[in-house]
Each structure stands twice: as structure tokens, then as C-alpha cells.
């Protein structure tokens, strides 16, 4: 027999197959999910970049609008120009200073939030590209620089078509208010920053970082956004870079749309693509779980196969045993039949000579031949009684043998029970008197008709009364009762005899059973009487029961069906 499960070729093949299926299955969902996650991260970051770019554009657009409104207000004469520019500072807190420059490039008016002394210098802007381009008629955006107060500043310029000649209105914008736009962005461990056209970092959540003016033009993503003016979604391999903290980041970038600025959003890849990693872990878990399940199934399958094999083996053994038992049973039945036949033949062969001997002895004891001397009579009497007992034993053995060989012929007749019971009472009343026993009869009148074999029923009742007489000490009472009990007639024999020990009562109707206390009292019993009686009553469709208490007596009851009772039902 095989035991345990080993990783054999039989289990290895499905195992490998399951592993491949799991692997392929995982890849089938993992690849599109990972692609989708990257797209989602890219979209989210681009959305942030777009929002920041829009805010920056709006900030500068508002400033340009304010400048143009002021420019419109100062085209006529110079009287109100100082007040108009002062109001511009009042209402646009992002402007730190504003200068009016005439067509020759000379600063003719200035309003600022700090010093007056410097403003009267009359700076020459004639060579400034910003001035030259703006005087031509288009608002311009200058480079971002760090002010003396260490804040990011930028210069905006708008043309002024004044009645006293073309001019340029320039404003120095303090970009401090733009820092919250990049600082307050909610992106886990992420960063939003702005580079100018040169790749210099001009906006960052931390002022100290802005002051460093680091140039990131070496980054591919910066060159593409600032140089080519394209939106970079971060999905290309070279869009990623290692940031100043040495962390590889997932980044996107887009042009702001004003001043050649570019806004960038970066996030450590471990954080940005954390979901992707989690999905990969899920895939690994599914793989491990799948392998585990397959392993368990294969293991269970192996065990089941082993159990089935063992069951098959046990089945074969049981079949063999069954055959052996059947064979043995047949042999036993044959032996039993031989035994019964032997007993029957032996008993039959013994009965004839024993009967002859019995008659001869009877003739001697009754002095039919000649009178015997007193000593001889005693011997003959003893021989006669012994022979008589042997004839009884032989008779019982023959009856048992006939019963088992189904040769016990019953002739049922529907008749009243009274004659059978009266005969039994009469016979045992005489015997009881000899043994100084009181034999009583309580027979109900009338008793219903019963279908019975007269000889066999007499035999059964005789056996019970005989036991009662034999095992009831002198002075005792034996009562025969008969009455109707619903569909049965109950015939009971009650004695005040030695009773049957409780421990042996279960064997009362067995062949050759004799209770221990009975053997001590009378050694002439064969132990076949009650067996034969029960068999006879059973053939009548009835039953035998008894109640007994050692030392107090017994009641044996025969129940016979009333004739025609079953048919009525």
C-alpha cells in the first residue's frame, strides 16, 4: 500500500500548469491595471500643473490688466499721473514699484513702496530689450529675479500711447503671493515648482529654495517643456529624474503660457506609483494563494486517491472474508444437518430397544413373570425409572430434531381449549397430590375458539406444568389460568417454586438450558422442554413470556391468537 504524497511527476505536471496559468492570469490583469494607474497619476499631476499654471496666468493677467488700465489713465498730460500710479500700488499689492519711461528710455516717474531717494535717479532703459520690445506695442514679461529683500520679482511692461509721445509703463511684481500657489498643493510627498526660460527655479514652496536659484535645465523634462513648449505627461522613461534629495521621482510638466515659464509636479515614484506596487503585491499574493490552493487540492487529491486505494483493499479483504464465512456457515449448516440426522437416527434406533427394555422391566416389576425377591425388585425398579427417563430424553431429542428439520407436522383445528386444559389439570392434580402440591385452575368460561394442534399444544402445556411440579417444593401451589386478553387467549402457569436466577433468564428458551438452582434440585431434566414449547407456540402464531424471581416462583404465559381475530382485522 502507498502512503503520503510526494512531489512526483503525477503532481508536478498539474502544479506547473497551475503556476503558469496563475502567472499568465495575473499578468493579464496586472499590466492594464498598472498602465491605468500610471495614467491616473499622470492625469492627477497634470491637473495640478494645469491649475497652478492657470493661477499664475491669472495673476499676471490681472497685473497686466491693471497696468493697461493705468496706462490708459495716464495718456493725457502729466498732472494726475503720480496719483494714478499711487493708486495702482494701493489696489495691486503684488506690485512693489511702477515706472513710467518716455520714448527715449528715460524714467520720468516712479512710485514704489520703499525708497524715494533712489527713484529720482532717472535710469536709462533705452538699451533694455524689454523696453525696446514693449515700446513697439506689445505687453512684455521680463525675467524673474531675486530682489534686495530676497523675494522673487518680475517686471511687466505695457506700452502707453500718451498724447505727449509713446511711453512704457513698467511694474516690478513681487511674486511672493505666488509661493502659496505651489506650497498649498495637496499631493502626498510631492512638490510643485516653476522654472523660467533658462531652467532656473523661480518658484518653490520654500523661499530658501527660490533664493538658491538652482538651474535645472539639465533635466530632460525641463528642456522639453521650456525648449519645445510641450506638455510632458511623465509616462516616457526619461521624464523621470533623481531630485535634489536623491529620490527618483515621477514628474510631469507643462508651459505656463506666459513669460516662458514652466510648471512641474514631481512625486517620489514609490509614493506616486504606490498603488501600482500594491497591485503587484496583490498579484504576488494571488499567485502565492493560488499555488497554496493548488498545492492543497493536489495534496487532498493524493490523500483521496490513497484512501480510495485503501478502501478498495479493505473491500477486497471483506469480500474474501465474506466468502470464507459463507463457506464456513455452509459447512456448519451441513454439519448441523448431519448432527440432527445423526441424533434423529440415533434416537430413533435407540427408542425401539429402549421401549422393549422398558416393557420388559415393567413386566418384571409388576411381577407378571414371577415374583421378585425384595432386593431384585428394588434393582428392577431403579432400572425401569432410568429407562423411562432415557425414553423421555430420546423423545425430546427426536422432537427437536423434527422441529429443526421441519418434519414436525402440525394439524391445526379450530376448537375450544377447555378439553385440553381440563385434561392437563386432571393429570397434574394427581401428580401434585403425590408431591403434596396444591394445583388450582382458574379457567374463564367461555373461552374463545382457538386454532391449534391438540397434541403439540398439550406437549407445550405439559412442559410448563411439568417444570412447575418438578421445581416447586412440597406445600407449594400451582395455578393454571386461562382467559381472553383482547385478540389472544392467555394460558398461564404460576408456581411458588425456586424461580430462575435473574442473570440466567435471558437463556430460558435456549436448547439444553437448565438454571443453576434447577440442576442442584433435579438432575433428570433435559433442558429441551421450554425450547420445544416456545417453538410450538411460535408455530401457532403466538408467543411465550415469563416472569420469575429466584426463591419466589415463576409465571409462564402462553398467548394464542383467537381464531378468526386476524381475519377480522
Amino acid at each position: 500500500m502507498k502512503s503520503g504524497i510526494s512531489f512526483t511527476r503525477r503532481t508536478a505536471t498539474p502544479f506547473a500548469l497551475a503556476a503558469v496559468v496563475l502567472l499568465v492570469g495575473n499578468l493579464l490583469w496586472l499590466i492594464p491595471v498598472a498602465r491605468n494607474i500610471r495614467n491616473q497619476v499622470s492625469l492627477l499631476q497634470l491637473e495640478i500643473a494645469d491649475r497652478v499654471a492657470t493661477d499664475i496666468r491669472n495673476y499676471f493677467s490681472a497685473a497686466v490688466r491693471d497696468l493697461e488700465l493705468s496706462a490708459d489713465g495716464i495718456i493725457f498730460g502729466s498732472e494726475k499721473r503720480e496719483v494714478i500710479l499711487a493708486k495702482l500700488l494701493k489696489y495691486n499689492k503684488g506690485i512693489d514699484a511702477v515706472f513710467l519711461i518716455d520714448g527715449t528710455g528715460t524714467e520720468i516717474l516712479r512710485q514704489d513702496r520703499l525708497r524715494k531717494s533712489r527713484a529720482l535717479a532717472g535710469t536709462d532703459y533705452a538699451a533694455s530689450p524689454l523696453f525696446v520690445q514693449t515700446i513697439a506695442g506689445t505687453p512684455r514679461f521680463g525675467d524673474i529675479f531675486i530682489s534686495e529683500q530676497l523675494e522673487p520679482h518680475a517686471v511687466l511692461a505695457v506700452p502707453v500711447k500718451a498724447t505727449d509721445g509713446p511711453m512704457v509703463l513698467m511694474a516690478e511684481m513681487n511674486l511672493r503671493d505666488l509661493i502659496p500657489l505651489v506650497a498649498d498643493v495637496s499631493i502626498e510627498d510631492g512638490l510643485v515648482y516653476v522654472l523660467d526660460r533658462r531652467g532656473v527655479q523661480v518658484l518653490h514652496p520654500e523661499l530658501s529654495e527660490i533664493l538658491r536659484s538652482v538651474n535645472y535645465s539639465g533635466r530632460v523634462i525641463a528642456r522639453r517643456v521650456l525648449g519645445q513648449g510641450v506638455i510632458v505627461n511623465g509616462l516616457s522613461g526619461d521624464d523621470s529624474y533623481v531630485n535634489k534629495d536623491g529620490v527618483k521621482v515621477f514628474a510631469v510638466g507643462r508651459p505656463v503660457g506666459i513669460g516662458n515659464l514652466g510648471v512641474f509636479v514631481e512625486q517620489p515614484r514609490s509614493g506616486a506609483l504606490g498603488t501600482e506596487r500594491q497591485m503587484a503585491i496583490v498579484a504576488v499574493l494571488i499567485f502565492i494563494l493560488g499555488i497554496g490552493v493548488v498545492s492543497v487540492i493536489l495534496r487532498a487529491q493524493g490523500r483521496l486517491r490513497s484512501m480510495l486505494y485503501e478502501l478498495d483493499e479493505i473491500g477486497k479483504i471483506l469480500v474474501r472474508r465474506d466468502l470464507e464465512l459463507t463457506r464456513a456457515n455452509t459447512q456448519l449448516m451441513e454439519l448441523d444437518a448431519v448432527k440432527s440426522e445423526f441424533v434423529s437416527i440415533a434416537a430413533h434406533q435407540l427408542r425401539t430397544p429402549l421401549t422393549g427394555i422398558k416393557w420388559s422391566l415393567n413386566a418384571l416389576r409388576t411381577n407378571e413373570v414371577e415374583p421378585l425377591a425384595p432386593g431384585q425388585a428394588q434393582i428392577v425398579e431403579g432400572a425401569y425409572e432410568g429407562t423411562n427417563r432415557m425414553v423421555g430424553l430420546i423423545g425430546d431429542l427426536l422432537n427437536v430434531a423434527r422441529m429443526e428439520e421441519k418434519r414436525f407436522v402440525f394439524e391445526f383445528r379450530v376448537a375450544p381449549l377447555q378439553p385440553v386444559l381440563d385434561e392437563a389439570i386432571a393429570r397434574y392434580r394427581d401428580i401434585g397430590t403425590k408431591k403434596r402440591l396444591t394445583v388450582l385452575a382458574e379457567i374463564a368460561d367461555p373461552l374463545p375458539m382457538v386454532s391449534y394442534d391438540s397434541e403439540k399444544l398439550k406437549m407445550a402445556i405439559d412442559n410448563i406444568l411439568s417444570n412447575a411440579v418438578n421445581y416447586t417444593p412440597a406445600g407449594g401451589t400451582i395455578t393454571l389460568r386461562a382467559s381472553r386478553d383482547k385478540d389472544h387467549v392467555a394460558i398461564s402457569v404460576q408456581d411458588t417454586g425456586i424461580g430462575i436466577p435473574k442473570a440466567q433468564q435471558h437463556r430460558v428458551f435456549s436448547k439444553f438450558f437448565r438454571a443453576g438452582n434447577a440442576q442442584l434440585r433435579n438432575t433428570s431434566g433435559t433442558g429441551l422442554g421450554l425450547y420445544l414449547s416456545e417453538q410450538i407456540i411460535a408455530r401457532h402464531g403466538g408467543a411465550m413470556k415469563f416472569l420469575s424471581e429466584e426463591g419466589k416462583g415463576s409465571i409462564f404465559t402462553i398467548q394464542l391468537p383467537v381464531a378468526g381475530a386476524g381475519e377480522k382485522k
Binding site: 494701493k90 513702496r113 524715494k116 498603488t275 499574493l285 502565492i288
Partner: protein
């Protein structure tokens, strides 16, 4: 045996991976975490008190509940740097996470004490002009020590203040300017601007408050005089007396911030000290909750400068304010 080890290993791996999956990706908490912070506030002169109020209010907005997240320890200010240093030294006997100071005297005292006994204890100042030349910090970009803060830039804007004073009071012919600290007050700028605007200048260096009292008692103003209050510690001690003197002598006075205007100054131009305190609170937040060092945080200029005018004082002084003049004023105090 080998099979059992493999199974146990797989189960451990499974559990570890699942745990990482569910807990490993959780957002990181702020670096420094949350706990009760003890902030020592050096009790400032009355004109500077709004800065401390601004600090408390902004920190509250940032989620610092008093008694739960933050506890304020008021450190009494002495009459001199030495006395204040003694008070700060005493305060350091209990654990402090940060010191907030207003004005140059208190800031200098905080620097001196922490430099010797608690060099890692952050100090945030407000209302200290020109902290570099005042030798509080190495540069505006990085203090190079345990100090950072917000400057009102009074030394830089004093010229603009005089210009605006002249715009609102066109009859201004002479500027009266008492000063003690040339760095904080920007007296050089005062001279340049007065000269550029064609204004006479009466300037006097005062060593202490007593000399101010003596000047005010002896000086007789003339028509066209205007008083510009200087922004140093000595002059701050007599802020109320200056106002009273100016009203008594019908001399327009330019203060440094809206607090002066509210108390009766003709006008003021400068940073709002309450707002400077709010700016300082953000710096404190970066240090306490984000783990930044003071030297990482550049000294900040004021987020805004405001021109204020007291119309009642103007009327009392007989100064007419045209609508054009009023149009450039950020805040007009009506009473």
C-alpha cells in the same frame, strides 16, 4: 520538515505582504509629530504687543489649541538687555520649544542667552528692522544660527514714509526726527529723502528716554513742522508722549504703523505689527511641526505695507485732506 518550513515561510510572506499592502502605504505623518509645545513669549512694550497677538491667533488657525498643542510662557522684559537676559535665563529652567520676541532689545537678549546656554532653541523675532546690521543674523537668506523672523523694514521705508507724509500734509516744511539707533531708524535715508524733497530736518540723537523728555519740554515747533517718530527701542518708550506732544502743539505726527494712527497720530506708513506676528507664526509652524531649522528659513520682509490716516486728527490740526489724497490711503481712521 522541509515542506513545513516552506509552508511557514509562505504564510509569513503572505502575512507580511498583506500587512505592508494595507499599512505600509499609509500617508506619512508630519515629521515632528504632534505634542504640546511650550513657547516662551518675551513680554513686549505696548506698541509691539499686537505682534504677539498675531502670533497666537495665526497658530490657533494652524491648529495649535492652547493648553493642548501649545502652551505660552510669558517672559517678563527688563528695562535693559541685561535685565531681559536674566529673565530669559530664568525661563529656561523649564523646557521651552521656541522663543518669540518683539523688538530689537528683546531679540538681542534672546540671542545672547540662547547662544551661550541653548544654541539649538529656536528664536523667532518680529518687528526688528535690519537684523543683519543689528548683528542678529548673518544674512537675510540664512541666519546661520538659531534665529529667524520677520522684519518691518522700517529702516528702508522711512524715506517713503516722509514722502507720503508730505503728500498728505503738503504744508510740511521741516521734519523733526529724534533717533537713538541709526541702523534701526534708517536716519541716513531720512537725511537723503528730506534733502531730495527740499525739506528742512531737525534731527537729534537721544541716548535715552530722559533726553527725549528734555527735548520735548524745550523744543518749540514752528508752522510747517512735522514729527516723524523713529522706530528704535528708546523712542518706542515715549510713543504716547510723542502723540500727546504733537496734539498739544498742533504738529502733525507720522507714526510707524496703524496702531499709532488709531491712538491719534496724523498718519502712519509701515507694516501692520499684528500681521508681522501672523507671519512669524507660520515660521514657528515650519520649525515645530515640519522640523525646519531657523537657519533654513530666510528673514521675511513684511507681507504688506499700509498707509493710514486719522481724519479726526487731521481736522483737529486743520489739515485738509482732498479726495485725491484720500484715494491713495489704505485705511482711514474716522475717529
Amino acid at each position: 520538515m522541509l515542506r513545513r518550513i516552506l509552508i511557514i515561510g509562505a504564510v509569513v510572506m503572505f502575512i507580511a505582504a498583506a500587512a505592508y499592502l494595507f499599512y505600509g502605504g499609509s500617508p506619512k505623518s508630519e515629521k515632528a509629530g504632534k505634542r504640546l509645545y511650550n513657547i516662551g513669549i518675551i513680554d513686549p512694550d505696548p506698541p509691539l504687543k499686537p505682534a504677539a497677538d498675531g502670533l497666537r491667533d495665526r497658530l490657533k488657525e494652524l491648529g495649535y489649541r492652547e493648553g493642548v498643542d501649545v502652551s505660552y510662557v510669558v517672559i517678563p522684559a527688563g528695562k535693559s538687555v541685561a535685565e531681559t537676559e536674566t529673565q530669559i535665563t530664568a525661563a529656561l529652567s523649564s523646557p521651552l520649544d521656541l522663543i518669540f520676541s518683539s523688538g530689537i532689545i528683546n531679540a538681542r537678549a534672546a540671542k545672547n542667552v540662547t547662544a551661550s546656554s541653548a544654541p539649538d532653541l529656536p528664536v523667532i523675532f518680529a518687528v526688528v528692522s535690519n537684523p543683519v546690521e543689528n548683528k542678529l543674523v548673518a544674512s537675510l537668506a540664512s541666519s546661520g544660527n538659531n534665529i529667524t523672523g520677520v522684519s518691518p523694514n522700517n529702516d528702508l521705508i522711512v524715506g517713503k514714509r516722509i514722502e507720503l507724509f508730505r503728500n498728505l500734509f503738503p504744508g510740511l516744511r521741516r521734519v523733526i526726527f529724534l533717533w537713538n539707533d541709526p541702523i534701526t531708524t534708517g536716519v541716513g535715508e531720512v537725511r537723503s529723502v528730506a534733502s531730495a524733497l527740499g525739506l528742512a530736518l531737525v534731527e537729534r540723537r537721544v541716548a535715552n528716554a530722559k533726553e527725549i523728555d528734555e527735548f520735548l519740554a524745550s523744543f518749540t515747533p514752528a508752522k510747517g513742522d512735522g514729527f516723524v517718530r523713529a522706530t528704535d527701542a528708546v523712542n518706542a518708550q515715549r510713543a504716547a508722549q510723542f502723540l500727546q506732544w504733537a496734539l498739544d502743539h498742533r504738529v502733525p505726527l507720522s507714526g510707524t504703523n496703524v496702531g499709532d494712527t488709531e491712538k491719534g497720530a496724523f498718519m502712519s506708513y509701515g507694516a501692520n505689527y499684528y500681521n508681522l506676528g501672523r507671519q512669524a507664526a507660520v515660521l514657528a509652524h515650519k520649525i515645530l511641526r515640519e522640523g525646519k531649522k531657523p537657519s533654513d528659513l530666510p528673514i521675511e520682509p513684511p507681507a504688506a505695507l499700509e498707509l493710514t490716516l486719522n481724519k479726526k486728527t487731521a481736522a483737529l490740526l486743520g489739515v485738509d485732506i482732498s479726495s485725491e489724497q484720500a484715494s491713495v490711503v489704505d485705511r482711514i481712521i474716522e475717529d
